[in-house]
């Protein structure tokens, strides 16, 4: 088994992409159901980025974003993060609550709990897709939320990735209807052991 992400074979990398893709697709569907609207979703864009480029790709390191983070437990260790820019987060909230959110980086109490709940739904749907595919039992911890600069939010998964790689896997998923577009980003951060478990569960033993 390779000891770092850069040494993953093409097949392993494709598997990783596919898993992320399915998870992101599932989560997007769940969000649109929560909002009670029919959403169109573009094919997620998956990129392997250097840490330097990570924040740039979601609007710059100083762009204010909402980050929802949860840990992974049971068969797989690691963490997963969902990131949205502030405007997207506000579109989602007003789509559900039908009230306008305050300006800038401010959120109403109700708005924050919508986001928190959204985090729960994303965690559940994303992970159940991966579970179903791999037959592994994966449970999310309670989600934690932070609204701050993109660079600062992303430092958390980046640091985790930093232990096994010089790059991180970022999945961009764009969805919306005629009136709004939401840009969401998923970052799945399994430990190296977890990667091996995922590959093994799919019959991709590279030993």
């Amino acid at each position: 088994m390779s000891h770092r992400l850069e040494e993953f074979s093409d097949i392993e990398f494709d598997v990783l992409k596919e898993i992320s893709n399915i998870g992101a697709g599932n989560a997007t569907t769940a969000i649109s159901q929560m909002m009670g609207i029919k959403m169109n979703m573009d094919v997620p864009v998956i990129k392997f980025l250097e840490f330097k480029e990570l924040a740039e790709s979601i609007g710059g390191a100083e762009n204010t974003v909402v980050g929802i983070l949860f840990g992974l437990e049971r068969d797989i260790d690691g963490m997963m993060m969902f990131v949205m820019d502030c405007d997207s987060a506000k579109s989602v909230i007003s789509g559900i609550l039908h009230v306008e959110e305050p300006a800038d980086a401010e959120f109403s109490e109700m708005g924050l709990s919508v986001l928190q709940e959204m985090g729960n739904i994303i965690a559940g749907s994303y992970l159940s897709a991966i579970s179903a595919l791999t037959n592994l039992s994966i449970a999310p911890t309670v989600p934690y939320m932070s609204i701050d600069m993109a660079g600062a939010i992303l430092s958390v998964p980046a640091i985790e990735y930093g232990k096994v790689s010089d790059k991180a896997l970022l999945i961009r998923s764009e969805f919306g209807d005629d009136t709004m577009t939401v840009d969401g980003y998923f970052i799945l951060v399994p430990t190296l052991d977890a990667f091996e478990k995922i590959f093994a569960s799919l019959g991709l033993s590279t030993l």
């Binding site: 924040a55 932070s146 701050d148 930093g162 232990k163």
Partner: protein, 161 residues
């Protein structure tokens, strides 16, 4: 006004007055500034993890506190700036998510700050000022002309150390 030189995540660079050096959106990472107040030269490294010896992959020295600070010292020394003339200012090391678990990996900000302080102490470099910890992101700008470190955070007034 000089140029603003950018340092990315797990990146380092040097600059001289009137230029300034910045790193954007520091979270649990630490921005370490080493400067020589007399020659108005400085360097900045944006480190992500405390210790390279704990980790298998280290192609990029700037990622770790130990190798990053060493790399920056080497770079400054090549420019004729001696370790003995350097002082430090550091910022970052926040805990971005309010975990209440004792999970080690989540306190990485705090561990980063501790590692940086210890490494600088071992090199005999004095930390003149620091703004570490808390739970928010920081953008920092260092002006070697005045040795001032500007710290910007969302919804907070500008802080100068």
């Amino acid at each position: 006004m000089g140029n603003m030189i950018k340092v990315g995540m797990a990146d380092l660079n040097t600059c001289k007055a009137p230029d300034a050096i910045t790193t954007l959106g520091l979270g649990s990472c630490i921005g370490v500034v080493l400067y020589d107040a007399r020659t108005k030269a400085c360097g900045m490294v944006h480190v992500m993890l405390p210790d390279s010896t704990q980790i298998k992959t280290h192609d990029n020295p700037a990622k770790f506190a130990d190798t990053g600070i060493k790399e920056l010292l080497d770079l400054l020394s090549k420019q004729g700036i001696m370790k003995s003339s350097l002082q430090a200012k550091i910022a970052g090391g926040a805990q971005m998510f309010a975990f209440n678990t004792g999970n080690d990996l989540l306190r990485v900000g705090q561990r980063n700050a501790e590692a940086v302080r210890k490494i600088l102490k071992d090199y005999g470099i004095r930390v003149v000022a620091e703004d570490c910890g808390e739970n928010y992101g920081r953008t920092i700008e260092f002006y070697p002309e005045t040795s001032e470190l500007y710290i910007k955070a969302i919804g907070k007034p500008l802080k100068i150390i």
